[in-house]
Amino acid sequence: MGLPLACAFAEAGFRVTGVDVNHKVVENVNRAITWFKEPELDEKLAKAIKNKKLIATLDAEYAVKTSDFILTIIPLGLDKEKKPDISKLIEVTEIISKNLRRGHVVGYETTLPIGTTENILKPILEKTSLKAGKDFGLFYSPERLMSGKVFSRLRELKKIIGAVDRRTAFIAGEIYKTICPAGIEIVSNPRTAEMIKLAAGIWRDVNIAFANEMAKLADKYNIDIMEVIKAVNSSPRRLMLNPGCGVGGHCIPVYPYFIINSLENADQVVPLIKAARQTNENMPKYTVKLAEEELKRRGKDIKGANIVILGLAYRPYIKETLNSPTLEMAKMLKTKGAKVSIFDPVFTKEEVEKITGAKSGEYEALLKKADCVIVATMYEKFKGIREKTKNDCVIVDGRNKLNEADRGIGRPPKGKKI
């Protein structure tokens, strides 16, 4: 999200320096070449480069020294123990610290575990003997963007700012106002702002888990969860989400662990947050089970069956596979002895095969020989699968978008009356 943000500031008239460790990224930016799709980004980048408002560099020291306002936005992943890995963030902060001067304003947009700004980053920055809130400004302002909707959300959502002192909050607010017309929401401190960001992801995770569990019940009741959800949401103050075969990406499956793994007894302190993760992480397995059940109903064994998974990206049109349920399902199906192939319109055959280790190929050819199709990511293109498959091919819809599916998440087999 760093590049769109830099472009937005450049468009507002600031002179922006973008820093990255990847020389290819730096080169691309300076040549105004984008390497991912995002509405409005191409034009904005081209304009910023042309007007000399934006330059990219590998040299972080130089960038810090020549700037007044320093923003860090490095995605934070989880390590093997599912603990947030903040080593890179610390490295960057060390560089900022070494080049910090009086009057600098330092801000973080990366989604962080609660307390990181005040308890970890602030002491690093203060190694210089400059004091946060007195000699330099320090604030946290969570990025609340979403791939594919970056600029619209930047315009429509209020910018949340939590600073160590009022003056910094004011300065940061004035600067963000130039790119966030919806306005500024100043909160008491950085940790409150950190919590707000995590809370939003958690709301979705828990509500998706709720929908997933209710979908499993609907399946047993032999009723369609989508009909029920529509009815539930017809009443005021309800926003029941849709169930699905898994939650992917680098936000929702990751952020709850910032809280869960900061606690010894997460079961007691945040039982819902923890249970929601478990339920959602279990959905690929549930979806595979549905495929197995449907094959069995047709007298087929999953062992040796040709199974095509449609969709590798965790969300349609996003060329990212982090935590994609497809990867998990492919692995499980292989263990069960199925022949798995994967297709996704935004990836080439070679890309899919390299990422997943499963076979890929041409869409229609794959469907033609499939015994079972599992839709993991929904693209418009997938409507009308039925016409392209064998008559007795099982279609499992992990996104509940297809009318022709035999089974969905909380959509029991048609014609089976209890």
């Binding site: 949340i160 909160v187 709301w203 019940l217 047993k220 017809s234 009443s235 309800r238 249970a275």
Partner: protein, 449 residues
């Protein structure tokens, strides 16, 4: 069936349709009033003689002004009546609307015994071609599996062939039931198309909003319960986060306000009160378990919400500690026994549980709620006090459970002067923390770390 487009065209024709509504609670009386107001001849059936007499006089047993007006007007115009005689009422009716609250027993199992008795009574006198509509919340499958056979066995008639059977849950909050019923979308499902059509036509006469037909009664029963489980889960999530904020020294109210500026985020206000909501999840938790489905989220939500009473006691202890006062022997004033602010409805409130727990731990508790008089409070099991002043006087801690508007007018100066120790536990966030600080009042606000 007697309900069709033709008979509904004029109020004059509607007056020839007789409807009986079984039980006045659970919005039964409101539904009856609205139907009477639409022109039908309606009788409310209830075993409570006192209530029947009240309604016959044109008075409402509820304080809600809009309902009082409706009862008065329709009784006066002889469109609404009340009786204890279910036999007489059913045998003369074209439509029977059932509005019976389903309680859960100590083991948290739904108790359908009263619904069963009533359905059997209805069955005995049911006329051919009449329509039966169940409007209360029931477990998925109850209407088609239990209600249907209870009525069929007692009547010898067959649902779908000899009489219509539909399910259409009421969604209404206390004190604004006439508004809610008229303005919220209405879910309707029937045992067959004819029942669905008749019930839809009937409710269209009282609903300004959309009629949402569902493909099966079971789907409608499930949707109604999910509406409440959704609220329970989201209240629990908000409570969980509020408590977590307390630990971290973060103000949940700030998080709530800022996080909800994202349209994909709907946090609720934390609290220990939630009306019907605590009960409804139990209508399916047990059955889900039998079907082998783990509803971890719904189950944990119940646990989290129920634990809020214990948490309140913790907050009270914390407030008292600031004044070096133990809970044992402390005088505690508790405000609010309604399930939510600005209504007179004690059902679903957790205040009684809180009071009992405080008493068990040796505290001396006094309770006040401006919507109830001392007698009413005593009948509900509360150690009641007549006035707000008397309740607060000499107290070591004041606990605001429900944020009635009257409590918002409380002056902190006055409270401080009346109390022995100025300590407040505010569960409904009506006291301004800055003001409390200024007045040197100890304020522990739920979720505000």
């Amino acid at each position: 069936m007697k309900i069709n487009e033709e008979v509904l065209t004029s109020v004059e024709k509607r007056s020839r349709i007789r409807i009986c509504v079984v039980e006045y609670k659970g919005a039964g009386l409101t539904t009856a009033c609205l139907l009477a107001n639409a022109g039908f001849k309606v009788v409310v059936v209830d075993k409570d003689r006192g209530v029947v007499e009240t309604v016959k006089k044109g008075e409402s047993p509820f304080s809600e002004p809009s309902l009082q007006e409706l009862v008065y007007k329709n009784v006066k115009e002889r469109k609404l009546n009340a009786t204890v005689d279910i036999k007489g009422a059913v045998s003369k009716s074209d439509v029977i609307i059932v509005a019976i609250n389903i309680p859960v027993d100590e083991k948290m199992r739904p108790d359908y015994s009263r619904l069963e008795t009533t359905c059997k009574e209805i069955g005995k006198d049911l006329r051919r071609d009449s329509l039966v509509v169940i409007t209360n919340t029931v477990g998925p499958g109850v209407t088609e599996n239990l209600v249907k056979s209870w009525i069929e066995d007692a009547s010898g008639l067959k649902a779908g062939r000899d009489f219509g059977l539909a399910y259409s849950p009421t969604l209404a909050a206390a004190e604004k039931a006439p508004y809610d019923i008229s303005n919220y979308a209405r879910l309707i499902a029937g045992i067959d198309n004819e029942s669905l059509k008749a019930a839809s036509l009937l409710f269209k006469t009282i609903i300004n909003s959309e009629i949402i037909p569902l493909s099966s009664i079971k789907a409608a029963e499930t949707a109604k319960i999910f509406q409440n489980v959704y609220r329970d889960v989201n209240l629990a999530l908000s409570n969980e986060l509020a408590l977590f904020c307390e630990r971290l020294g973060i103000d949940y109210m700030e998080v709530y306000k800022a996080a909800n500026t994202d349209p994909y985020c709907h946090f609720l206000l934390p609290g220990i009160v939630s009306g019907h909501i605590p009960k409804d999840p139990y209508l399916l938790l047990k059955e889900a378990e039998d079907l082998g489905v783990k509803l971890r989220i719904a189950k944990l939500a119940r646990k989290v919400n129920e634990s809020m009473v214990d948490h309140t006691v913790k907050l009270i202890r914390k407030a008292l500690r600031r004044h070096s006062k133990p809970l044992r022997g402390a005088k505690i004033a508790v405000l609010g026994v309604s399930y939510k602010a600005n209504v007179k409805e004690p059902k679903g409130s957790r205040t009684l549980k809180l009071v009992k727990l405080l008493q068990l731990k040796g505290a001396k508790v006094k309770v006040h709620d401006p919507f109830f008089n001392k007698k009413e409070l005593s009948e509900l099991g509360y150690p009641a006090e007549n006035s707000l002043e008397k309740t607060i006087k000499g107290a070591d801690c004041l606990v605001i459970v429900v944020g009635h508007n009257q409590f918002k007018k409380l002056s902190l100066k006055r409270i401080k002067a009346l109390m022995r120790h100025p300590a407040i536990v505010d569960l409904s966030h009506i006291i301004n923390p800055k003001e409390a600080e200024k007045e040197k009042v100890t304020l522990i606000s739920l979720g505000r770390g």
